[in-house]
């Protein structure tokens, strides 16, 4: 049992941190992840329990459905002992309990938005507001054009004033980096206020 120790010691794993990249299909989540990830985005499938309250048919009873969603993810090795994971998840399903698994322990989230299809991101925005996960709304500038100005997006999504709305280009590494830095700024703020003596 102890003899194997000499052959190849298992490296000490890095501390993992994660940021959730949410948004509807085709808004550029995977592009976002791929633009900054050290590795080409990987895909994993997960079962999610979606609780559909029936937006279209409010009279119907709440029913639970289990759907398989594909998550594309990547990672950025900050240094040998710290690794940032980026999980890209579709946001148009009603978020169910399994989403807690995703946002539990996340530093924050970035909701990627196509300004011409804003309603795709409502469930994600609702969810992150409910669970109190710091998030930003990042409007992907398709072909360099936003489609709507940021104030219009903020108004249409009815998000709170403290939630940043930024424009970014999902294909551009530094643009994605800057958007993530806005998320991390919120995360830092949360961590600091969590530690403040007011709370103790």
């Amino acid at each position: 049992m102890d003899s194997a120790r000499s052959t190849e010691p298992v490296r000490r794993p890095p501390v993992p941190v994660k940021i959730v990249i949410a948004g509807g299909f085709g808004v550029g989540k995977t592009t976002t992840v791929g633009a900054i990830s050290d590795i080409p985005p990987l895909t994993t499938e997960a079962e999610m329990t979606a609780e559909s309250v029936g937006i279209d048919n409010p009279g119907q009873r709440t029913e639970k459905r289990t759907t398989t969603v594909a998550m594309d993810f990547g990672s950025v090795s900050i240094d040998h002992s710290l690794k940032l994971y980026l999980f890209g998840t579709p946001g148009q399903e009603r978020f169910g309990y399994m989403w807690d698994d995703l946002s539990r322990g996340a530093l924050g989230a970035m909701v990627v938005v196509d300004a011409s299809r804003l309603d795709d991101c409502y469930p994600a925005v609702d969810y992150f507001e409910q669970v109190g996960l710091p998030f930003i709304v990042a409007v992907n500038a398709f072909d360099g054009r936003l489609g709507a100005d940021l104030d219009t997006v903020r108004w249409a999504l009815a998000i709170q004033d403290h939630t940043p709305v930024v424009a970014f280009d999902a294909r551009n590494r530094t643009s994605v980096r800057d958007a993530l830095l806005v998320v991390l700024d919120l995360a830092l703020h949360r961590a600091v206020s969590h530690r403040s003596p007011l709370r103790a």
Partner: protein, 150 residues
């Protein structure tokens, strides 16, 4: 001399040539279950002996997993191929999400297999003392690390 129409004479082919709506493909003569979403959702759980709820609740997507050195080869060889594959991958630290992606198996299945291998003493799951979410120093390191990206 006229050639009698094949198969008894009814003009069965004509309508299709004149642009009538094509008949749907012949109803399945051999009944074969169509592999749909249900199959993908069902099959992987056979690997876990039908359990869908191991105490894998504490295993997160980003949980780091390493193989514990010194597993007796004959015991490893007797394991399901998927478990062997996990042990092989985890010679270096790997996240649960990466294991799932590399093995092309659902996350839920991987969590259960990883939990089992952990309980059997083959895998280490790494937990960290401080929750990075509330650790400003860790977050600052991430910020500085990202700023260095150009």
């Amino acid at each position: 001399m006229s050639i009698p129409p094949e198969g008894g004479g009814a003009p069965r082919i004509r309508p299709f040539l004149s642009g009538a709506p094509a008949r749907p493909p012949a109803p399945s003569q051999h009944v074969e279950p169509v592999p749909q979403a249900g199959q993908a959702a069902l099959r992987p759980f056979i690997l876990t002996g039908g359990r869908v709820n191991a105490d894998s609740a504490d295993i997160k997507l980003e949980t780091q997993v390493t193989a514990r050195p010194g597993a007796p080869p004959h015991l490893v060889a007797a394991m399901a191929p998927e478990s062997q594959h996990i042990l092989h991958l985890c010679q270096s630290p790997l996240s649960v999400a990466e294991i799932s992606a590399r093995l092309h198996l659902h996350l839920g299945v991987i969590k259960i297999l990883v939990a089992d291998l952990h309980h059997a003493g083959y895998l280490d799951l790494h937990a960290f003392e401080t929750d990075p979410v509330f650790d400003p120093d860790t977050i600052l390191r991430v910020i500085n690390g990202l700023r260095a990206i150009h």
